[in-house]
Amino acid sequence: MHQSILVFRNFRYLKWAASVIAAAVVLYVFHSPEYGLPNGGTWLGYVLGTIGAVLILWLMWFGIRKRRYGTGGAPVEDWLSAHVYLGLALIVIATLHTGFQFGLNVHTLAYGLMMIVIVSGILGLMAYIRVPELMTNNRRGMTLTQMMHEISDLDTACRETALSLGDEINQIVLKAARDTRIGGNVLRQLSGNDPNCATRQANQAVRHLADHAPQVQAEGFRSLLGLLARKEELLARARRDVRFKAFLDIWLFVHVPLSFALLAALMAHIASVFLYW
């Protein structure tokens, strides 16, 4: 049956990553360079640096691999599982490569960028594990498009019901239909909420007016309030859906561009090491 990428193939890539980490740690502990403390310039430093650089290139190749369809080889799930575990292993390998020497230079810049990329990856992984199920539960079998259609149907129904309830109500209902927004800028998407939701305001206003409505309009008000409540509930769900989708996507806007920044810094780091040292 279905298996998450973490337990995939009985933790095969976790085992790989763990062996690489264990080997690096053992070598590091027993490593005593001729001069000074362990650092990137010793033989072990070069070995770890090479492994780290190759890993970074390979990890970035994932972006190419997942878009190369129908090429055979290991399925993308293998790649992602390995990408996750070997990416995490990079924390240890690169840190040992530094020999814990940091400063205000291009070398530490590359290290810092790498750590940001890895942390964003971890956030992404957490989203991938947690969000899909929340999203499914929130949707209750509807797609976002279906929700939008239903919201627009409810708008029509609201307008029809409002026709018999006077100008003020009609204005309120029209405004609710016109000004209600789903999504918006990044923060709005991530919040999953609209503090100035036009439909919520309309609902409150209509409720207030209903208290003073003449008897003949009671029926109309009741059905209008029912429709507005249903619309609010759907809006909340649609906004949550947008929010979940944003969670699934947003980390990539850090992960991918910074990977390229890392690649540039890495090249500068390697070039400077070989040219100027």
Partner: protein, 800 residues
């Protein structure tokens, strides 16, 4: 005094037109009767710029008119010019309403009341039928139309749709986008329409998108609208346009009224014809689609040939070179006629066929000359062709463990019918035991034959019963031992959802599922809960026979089911007689009992099975499921599909229902009996040994499969141009990226009319892609999964 001609040709489609062309060219007196005011109405109604295909390529054209692949306007234009050049005698607006008389003296009555005398009549009326008109004054006004090609052509009009069938409703719904629509329903509600249409039309009426007038009879059409009679009285509905969709009277009715016989009531059966297309009524000839030849080129050839035959000329059929080619590998250098005689003489199943039927049958078939020891097909292959043995012998390996256990079939026998019946994998490997001569016939031709020749159907049915009992219930038992049981067998058919038997009833029989699948359910807490699923090739109902207790579960058809009903008595006698049979059945009994107990512990598994069955998985052989607990909605599956299949994704991830976290996206399920295969003129839909149903290049883009698929997984799409490679997109932003829609510069070749030919596309399970289904391989989180439902249901019932 009626006009008198030698040959009257009814219908001016490709067949009739070609016949008229031949008649004109040879100077024989003739008339071509066309009920419309233009030629070839079916092709005339194709949408503008539609490409008309000229398959099969190998068949030579034999006609005084030319025909090659081209757009509708070119094809019709060429025919129009050529038929005028030949000075054929054409009468438009001449619907034939009755034919009386006999060879040499037929009288054809036309709709305008006039009559024509003819010595011979050629029917070339196709399958489309006569479209029913409103039948009231004003029905011929220019703005009253009986078809709708493109609903987007009209906007801001008030349109009245007459007719509340599927066609009317679909038109009405499509027109509401840009118009105000009123639908007239003769009844007081919508009946006999597809469930989807019913929901759509009732919602549209509730939302006031469409007005509906119930119990409405059309009285007349005035200058500015339609007058309608309702129980409340007559009212006029003003409108700009009337679209009447009142169905068509099937051509078969008319043909039968002229005395032509069909072998049975099956809608796909064809009239019996001689090798020269003459029907059972001497002097009446049938050609073209109505005779079972739906392709334009075949029809044109027949038009030519039938005129030659009527004039007493002998002519080798146009397919002669094709048959010669097919028979080339048969040793002995015999002529086509000799081989046809040999086949008909050696295979009793085919002896009842007319020469025409046999030729057609062999054109579709392949000839094989295996040596001793050659494997014909393997157990578990998904192929569904049918084999007849003209010469030699084959062995059926009935036990996969033991190669020595075989059943031998000799000259004249046939095999492969089980796959044909059940739509499932081959049940045994078949091997030639000596040099043989076999004919392999594809599924569609075989079904056509079964439905058209009564004797074939009877022989097949009889043989199938015995073989199925032998295969599924009593392996290795000779037929002679099973006679008593076989005699009691009845084939019963159940519609989807119908009950084979109910929990608590007394059990007096056993059902062997021959086609389709069933669900097993039990009453749990007052509600019927599904506990498992049983596919074709298995039996149900043995528990009550063994334990002699009432039925322990209810069996319901998951899809349309054909089952063999075996009487309890002879079955119990067989078990008593035969130790091996008793042991297998008892083992199955114990397995079922355990399953019953397990399933009561796991009610959620039943819920999943029930949900999947409702989604039509009961007839699927391979389906894509998505675990939404893992799916990160990246749509890489769709992109992978589009990228590996010419830019069009054949799956829609988001669409489709979800139960708990199991999501069934809109994608092909590779049905056991594919609905898409039912009506494909060039037989372009095929299934290969691994089970995938795919579309070959011979697709003519007619769209039948798209309409026939109940799951909406076939689209019509044109092939886009090749786009730049991935790295060019990644580094320089050239062309659309992976999975992005291809249009404009990279879209289909716009130099061709209508953006190149649109052909049907569907999931082919990536049969030509390295590594298997791209959707599953491209899923980064392992959420996408392809499963074979029967295996999947086993996993589900034994705990997830």
């Amino acid at each position: 005094m009626p006009d008198s001609v030698k040959i009257a040709i009814v219908g001016s489609g490709p067949a009739g037109l070609s016949a008229a062309g031949r008649a004109a060219a040879t100077g024989v007196s003739h008339v071509l009767l066309e009920q419309r005011d233009h030629l070839s109405d079916t092709i005339y109604k194709y949408q503008k710029g539609k490409l008309v295909m000229a398959t099969p390529d190998v068949l030579p054209l034999r006609s005084d008119l030319s025909f090659q692949i081209g757009i509708r306007e070119e094809v019709l234009g060429t025919w129009g010019t050529q038929i005028t050049g030949l000075k054929a005698n054409i009468r438009f607006n001449s619907e034939v309403t009755a034919i009386k008389g006999e060879k040499g003296n037929f009288e054809l009555t036309l709709s305008d009341g006039s009559a024509i005398n003819a010595e011979y009549v050629v029917f070339a009326i196709g399958l489309q039928g006569n479209i029913r008109l409103l039948g009231v004054p004003g029905q011929d006004r220019e703005w009253v139309q009986y078809q709708l090609n493109d609903p987007d052509e009209y906007s801001d009009e008030t349109i009245v749709v007459v007719g509340a069938g599927d066609a009317g409703i679909e038109n009405a719904l499509a027109l509401t986008k840009q118009n105000s629509v009123i639908i007239l329903n003769r009844g007081s509600e919508f009946v006999r329409i597809k469930q989807g249409n019913l929901t759509a039309i009732t919602t549209a009426i509730e939302k006031n998108q469409i007005d509906c007038i119930y119990s409405a009879e059309t009285a007349r059409v005035d200058d500015d609208g339609i007058v309608v009679k309702t129980p409340q009285g007559e009212t006029k509905v003003k409108c700009d346009r009337i679209i009447a969709r009142l169905g068509a009277s099937p051509p078969r009715k008319f043909v039968e009224a002229c005395g032509i016989k069909f072998p049975n009531a099956d809608p796909s059966s064809l009239p019996e014809l001689s090798a020269q297309y003459e029907s059972n009524v001497p002097g009446l000839y049938v050609i073209g689609a109505l005779a079972g030849y739906p392709l334009i080129k075949q029809a044109m050839n027949q038009g030519y040939e039938v005129i030659e035959y009527i004039q007493g000329k002998q002519l080798k059929p146009a397919d002669e070179p094709l048959l010669e080619q097919k028979f080339a590998k048969i040793p002995g250098n015999r002529s086509v006629l000799e081989i046809l005689a040999l086949i008909q003489g050696s295979v009793p199943l085919l002896s009842g066929l007319t020469t025409l039927q046999l030729r057609e049958f062999l054109l579709d078939s392949n000839v094989h000359v295996p040596r001793g020891g050659d494997v014909i097909f393997e157990r578990n292959d998904y192929t569904n062709s049918f084999y007849s043995i003209v010469d030699g012998e084959v062995n059926i390996l009935i036990d996969p463990e033991d190669e020595t256990k075989v059943i031998s079939l000799g000259k004249g026998a046939f095999f492969g019918e089980m796959g044909l019946l059940s739509g499932r994998r081959r049940t045994a490997t078949v091997m030639a035991s000596m040099p043989s001569l076999l004919i392999e016939t594809p599924r569609r031709s075989m079904i056509k034959l079964i439905n058209s020749v009564e004797s074939v159907k009877r022989v097949m049915d009889e043989a199938a019963v015995g073989r199925q009992i032998q295969t599924y219930i009593a392996p290795g038992i000779p037929l002679s031992d099973l006679q008593e049981l076989i005699q009691t067998v009845k084939v019963e058919k159940f519609g989807q959802g119908e009950v084979l038997f109910r929990e608590g009833e007394a059990g007096d029989c056993l059902y062997l599922i021959q086609r389709g699948s069933v669900t097993v359910s039990r009453e749990v807490g007052g509600k019927e809960a599904v506990i498992s699923y049983v596919a074709a090739g298995n039996y149900v109902g043995e528990m009550a026979l063994i334990s002699k207790a009432p039925r322990s579960a209810t069996i319901r058809a998951a899809v349309a089911v054909e089952a063999l009903r075996l009487d309890g008595g002879p079955f119990q006698a067989l078990m008593a007689r035969n130790e091996a049979v008793r042991r297998t059945i008892e083992a199955r009994y114990r397995g079922r009992m355990l399953q019953n107990i397990e399933s009561t512990e796991q009610p959620e598994a039943g819920g999943i099975i029930q949900f999947l069955i409702e989604q039509g998985l009961g007839e699927a052989t391979d389906v894509l499921l998505i675990d939404e607990a893992l799916c990160v909605r990246c749509d890489n599956c769709e992109k992978a599909c589009a990228e590996t299949h010419q830019g069009t994704s054949r799956l829609n991830r988001e669409a489709g229902p979800t139960y708990q976290t199991i999501h069934v996206p809109t994608s092909c399920r590779h049905c056991e009996h594919p609905h898409c295969m039912v009506d494909c003129p060039p037989d372009a839909l095929r299934r290969n040994a691994n089970g995938e149903v795919y579309i070959t290049d011979s697709c003519i883009g007619c769209g039948n499969c798209e309409r026939n698929c109940p799951y909406g997984v076939i689209h019509m799409a044109a092939k886009p141009r090749k786009k730049p490679g991935l790295l060019q997109w990644l580094l320089f932003g050239r062309g659309p990226g992976p999975g992005q829609a291809v249009s404009g510069k990279w879209g289909p070749d716009s130099k061709k009319e209508d953006g190149g030919p649109k052909k049907a596309v569907k999931c082919d399970m990536c049969k030509d892609v390295t590594g298997g289904p791209a959707c599953v391989r491209a899923c980064p989180t392992g959420a996408a999964l392809r499963v074979e439902p029967s295996e999947f249901f086993k996993v589900v019932s034994s705990g997830l």
